[in-house]
């Protein structure tokens, strides 16, 4: 693996960090809860590390700075949409500065379990302005690859229910008031999220992976594509 590849930021980037100092590879896996994201990422980390590639994982709501506070605030459901949006952006920026950037500088592979696209899509569904979001997330480096695990909403319901026997309040978009019935709300919300992702795809390139298939075949496809990204320098 060559030490340096050129990275770019989507917008202004972050102070005192030069894009050309960022080596390594940034690989993003996006998808709803129940799309098999976490399973796929665990498999990928295992595979990469076994092959001697230093790998670091990041994900949403995992920052040292605000993850606890964000969790607490969501439990009470007291945040307005701009506040929630900026809170998540702070969480992302903290991991960006303290994990993603140093890891890329050191030539690591960074596997992101969701990235700015989920955050943007969620906010767009809640009526936030796309231009505002693009400016906000201009701090993010452009990944080397983005895979969107696409699963039909009906299949997502089945997977979520079989795993937890309940549908998550936020993943069902219950704060939006689509429906008081969580089942209906989940379907409508996931539909709207899919629409937002399609809108974002016009600007940001994702590879859409059909994740209605079994875990192994999805993983095989991901490995093949990631190998191409890592070795195709």
């Amino acid at each position: 693996m060559s030490a340096k590849t050129t990275h770019k930021f989507y917008g202004h980037g972050i102070p005192r960090v030069k894009a050309e100092d960022l080596g390594g590879k940034l690989i993003v896996v996006e998808g709803a809860d129940g799309s098999g994201r976490s399973t796929q990422i665990a498999e990928l980390v295992n595979w990469l590390e076994t092959n001697g590639r230093p790998t670091v994982q990041v994900g949403l709501k995992r920052s040292t700075l605000v993850s606890e506070e964000l969790e607490k605030a969501q439990e009470g459901n007291v945040l307005s949409r701009t506040t929630l949006s900026l809170f998540y952006a702070t969480d992302f920026a903290d991991q960006l500065s303290n994990i993603i950037i140093p890891a890329l500088k050191a030539g690591f592979i960074v596997l992101a379990d969701r990235y700015i696209y989920t955050l943007m899509a969620r906010d767009m569904v809640r009526g936030m302005d796309e231009k505002w979001l693009k400016n906000l997330y201009g701090i993010a480096p452009v990944p080397d690859a983005v895979f969107y695990l696409s699963v039909e909403p009906e299949e997502l319901v089945q997977r979520n229910l079989s795993k937890k026997a309940t549908l998550d309040y936020w993943e069902s978009g219950m704060d939006l008031g689509f429906s008081r019935d969580v089942f209906d709300s989940f379907l409508k919300y996931q539909e709207a999220m899919g629409e937002a992702f399609r809108q974002l795809q016009k600007t940001y390139k994702f590879e859409i992976i059909d994740a209605n298939r079994p875990v192994n075949s999805v993983n095989k496809e991901l490995r093949k594509k990631i190998s191409a990204v890592i070795d195709g320098e």
Binding site: L65, A73, T82, T83
Partner: protein
Amino acid sequence: MKTFAEMNFPGRLIAVEGLDGSGKSTQIYLLKRWLEAEGIKVYFSEWNSSELVKSATSKGKKRELLTPTTFSLIHATDFADRYERHLVPLLRAGYIVLCDRYVFTAFARDVTRGCPPEWVRGNYSFACAPDLTMFFKADLEVSLNRILEGRPKLKFFEAGMDLRLSTDPYESFKIFQGRILDQYLAMSKEFNFVIMDANESVEKQQVLVRKLVSEKIDLKKFKRRSPLPLPPSLAGDRDSKEELEDKAA
């Protein structure tokens, strides 16, 4: 950036800006006391005071975890929380809202820390402009002395130590404050700051503050319909009178 008046809010927002030690907090406090005494619906909001975000901010500051980007975003989150939950509803209800620091603090500070101005301004673009912004301009030396006299120990971020301007906190604080002042002055025209001479006596400044506010805002429109409740020992007379009025109505 449109003002709340231009956006047809029934309420009005007054902001004070300036360096630490410029005396702005004293002035806005005295303004609040006056408006309250006049029976005006008034609410006071302070920078960096949202209950929700406070614990994260203080953790970040204590452990020196913040970068220019997260420093900026966490303050924006704090502001958004106060803006959406308090300021907007109050302004829609016809309150006079007084803000000790507003978005301009972020515009000055975060840019001094190296954040791109367009990025910072973009993030705060959900907020309307104040109907009146008073900038308290004191000589840098005066502000510095006020802070350094009263509070000998400077905090890390307060002194701008994250910018590595100097290893000496006092020296760092001076350079940092000087740069923030430059940023403020550079935007003062664009955002219609009324520049207040903060070297004047507190009393003289307050006379001017009250004059400016009453010229800019038709205060009688913002009076409470019923006076604030009196303490129980004095309330008897007024209550019975109001009851009579209620019956008459």
